[in-house]
Amino acid sequence: MKKMITILLSLGLVLGLSSCTKKEISNEKVLNLAVSAKIKGMDPIYANDLYSSNEVARVYEGLLEYHYLKRPYTLVPNLAEALPTVSDDGMTYTFKIKQGVKFHDDKAFPNAKGRELTAEDFVYSIKRLADPKLQSLGWWLLDGKIKGLNEWRDKYADQPKVDYTEEVEGLKTVDRYTLQFTLAKPFPQFLYALAMPFTFAVAKEVVDHYGSEFINHPVGTGPFVLPEFKQTNMIVYTKNPTFRKKTFPAEASDEFKEMLADAGKQLPLVDKVVVNILVESQPRWLNFQKGKIDYIGIPKDNFDSAVIPGKGITDDLKAKGINLTVTPSLDVTYTAFNHDNKLFGNEKLRQAMSAAFDPYTANKLFYNDTALPAQSVVPPGIAGHIDGYKNPFIGPNVELAKKLLADAGFPEGKGLPEITYDCPSSTISRQIGEFFKQQMAKIGVNIKVVQNPWPELQKKIKNRTVMLYGIAWGADYPDAENFLQLLYGPNKSPGANGSGFNNEEFNKLFKTAAVLQDSPERTALYEKMNRIAAEKVPWIFGVHRQSYVLFHSWVKNYINADFNAGQAQYLNVDIKAKQEAIKKL
């Protein structure tokens, strides 16, 4: 289920930092971060959650990345020399990769000197992602997309050894520095896939040398080095001494113009990155206030003590030089109907329940009134979202709901069975469930809340044994396709369409749009689909969340972004300002 995330997640994504006073005396620039979950490991092909993919991206790199200072999100070359040349039919992508890029020094290489990156490394890395024996968690990204890769994967599924030397038609090297992809079908989102950690470059020697321990021995081409990953509560990265010439961008969107002070400087800007793993929100919050963490998502229940609604942060925090950044997240929370269930084939019933639900109160109770009630599936900030559109079936409108319910054949809820609502087992998820129950009770719909552990819930959704379930979706890449695919009929679970919504018109539009490159024509199709999704009410829409992040005055260039895996290299620390500011904390 890809990047499905639980509703509760929050405002409080992650980071904070811990520094130790002695180190501040030296002039070493240390970035202190905090993450809120254990890191699974450092192998790109298993980095399917936010936390491990962020860590992987400090050490490894891919062909492309998002421009750090540009919005809307723009892909720029990273290990590639330039953006690829694309054949006229949009099926063949040819990349020139940068010359002279070195892997980190490691004993897996001859003389323990990192060798140069070649196009062959990408072929190897992407085959690893497809390797049937490795059970990578990112295969869905390229499944059926690259010519011959599925056949290669299937062929070796039952054989004892996977042959990496066998050539795959759609995955070729033309020369040492030229890489050619041929797609099996049009896939306009292909380039986004190359900016995700799943497709980052690893070296065959290193994988062979460490075997199953590879997951703990990251050796990439990236800005930071981690000799060995251990399951401890602190990960310390140091600057890569052999990092290629890569400089801070010289262009920026208007809102980030002031960050250009560092333009042209060699990356990374800090000498060391210390990642503290602090699972509980309270220690993260206290460490941040002591200046031991550089930035932090505000925990839900500390919100009142940090932010005054409509005014920004409290004077107390302001006096300490702390800054707030608020950014909409590319996500949507929702309560899905299981469309396999005959009951929910009744469109009026779906609309009635949607009209009875009050997203505004939910916003107050669970998101500190910072989220944006969703009108449809595509969040603001990406093409396909319709500004100013109001979904007629978004509540709270109890009268309309009652009327629709009567039209649906269940006046006052008479004749309706008890409807179960499945949710994850965390406290906030349960409270959201109770809230939903309360809302539905207003029109006489009887809800039973069932809590499930996260894997269990995913299994139930996959096996279609739920009636209603509450969940959220966060973007994998900045394209409405990533959201609209959740309602595409043929994507029915076990695909990403967990609700099983199947609307002919929608499917037709999706099929047309899926093979189009970004264009006004495609945006028009996206908007049309978004409108259908709104009016057919395949889900009861929740909210698009916003993330509130606090950062200290000494942190420079901090931007809160949905796709910020490689961010640490761009951040800077003003040591003098830190010494001053820390006295005030």
């Binding site: 229940d301 109770l365 406290t427 409270q431 109770e434 039973k448 069932v450 809590q451």
Partner: protein, 299 residues
């Protein structure tokens, strides 16, 4: 003759005084212990509350909004309101029902399993004993909380699942005790006497031996009762417990997040309610042991 009659009368009198049954004696001992009486009173009060809430005479409207979200304790709402503006007092009272029913059902279930397996193992010995001992040794080597979680996963969610999960995991200690006691008793003369007049295994075990080891069951019952209440709270805290109605566990689960915003009343109400009943049952268990255990008599 006259003398003899007097003697007999005296003896009868003496006998009547001395032959107060174990139970009567225990009851009197218990009643002399003021703490125990208070504990029993509290237990009865909780039981009455639980009964009244189950027929909605009190706290029937716990789901009603009585104020703003998270309003602090006031004259109208002694323990304030929760996230949805519901009265914390009403929720706590309604939670009593869950706690007491879980205590009762679980302690009963574990007593039944413990008595049956323990007495069979102790009485028959040999292979039967070996199998049962092997079974409960293995069973008890599995960490309790893990087992609880596993069982609730299999049984699904809800009150019945919690009854069963807790009942099925808490019988081992009682089983051990009963087995030991039965082994001790089965070679006693009164059992031999029963054999001699033709008593069958079942009769000897359940009519003769069991009443003599019943005090262990009673003590164990009162202790098991409060362990079950605590376990329910843990299960609900972990999201595996009661669904769709208030319980002390879910209230404490709510509170773990609310505390950061200074909302302490839900935690206070639930822990206070739990504290009182658990303490009472502990005191009662101790008092019962003092009263019932023959070895402690006269100390």
């Amino acid at each position: 003759m006259e003398n003899a009659q007097v003697v007999t009368a005296n003896m009868t009198q003496n006998k009547e005084q001395k032959s107060k049954s174990l139970w009567r004696h225990a009851f009197e001992t218990l009643m002399k212990d003021k703490m125990a009486v208070a504990a029993i009173a509290i237990f009865i009060i909780y039981s009455i509350i639980a009964l009244l809430t189950s027929v909605d005479i009190i706290a029937g409207d716990w789901a009603k909004e009585v104020g703003a979200s998270y309003s602090p304790p006031s004259v109208e709402n002694w323990f304030g309101t929760d996230i949805f503006g519901r009265s914390v007092v009403a929720k706590t009272l309604k939670g009593t029902q869950v706690a007491m029913s879980i205590g009762l059902f679980t302690a009963t279930l574990s007593a039944i399993i413990g008595i049956i397996l323990g007495s069979i193992a102790g009485y028959y010995g040999g292979k039967v004993d070996e199998i049962i001992v092997w079974f409960y040794t293995t069973f008890s080597s599995i960490p309790g909380i893990m087992l609880l979680v596993a069982i609730t996963f299999i049984l699904g969610k809800g009150l019945v699942a919690v009854y069963l999960a807790l009942g099925l995991t808490s019988w081992v200690s009682l089983c051990r005790l009963i087995r030991g006691e039965v082994i001790r008793h089965k070679d006693r003369e009164y059992v031999h006497a029963a054999t001699a007049i033709g008593g069958g295994d079942f009769r000897k075990l359940f009519m003769h031996i069991l009443p003599n080891v019943l005090h262990i069951v009673i003590i164990n019952f009162s202790l098991q009762f409060q362990v079950a209440i605590k376990s329910e709270v843990i299960l609900s805290y972990l999201g595996l417990g009661v669904q769709g109605r208030p319980s002390w566990g879910t209230m404490i689960d709510d509170a773990k997040l609310e505390l950061a915003r200074g909302v302490w009343w839900q935690l206070a109400a639930a822990t206070f309610a739990m504290f009182v009943i658990v303490l009472s049952l502990n005191i009662l268990g101790d008092a019962l042991r003092d009263a019932l255990d023959p070895k402690l008599k006269g100390k």
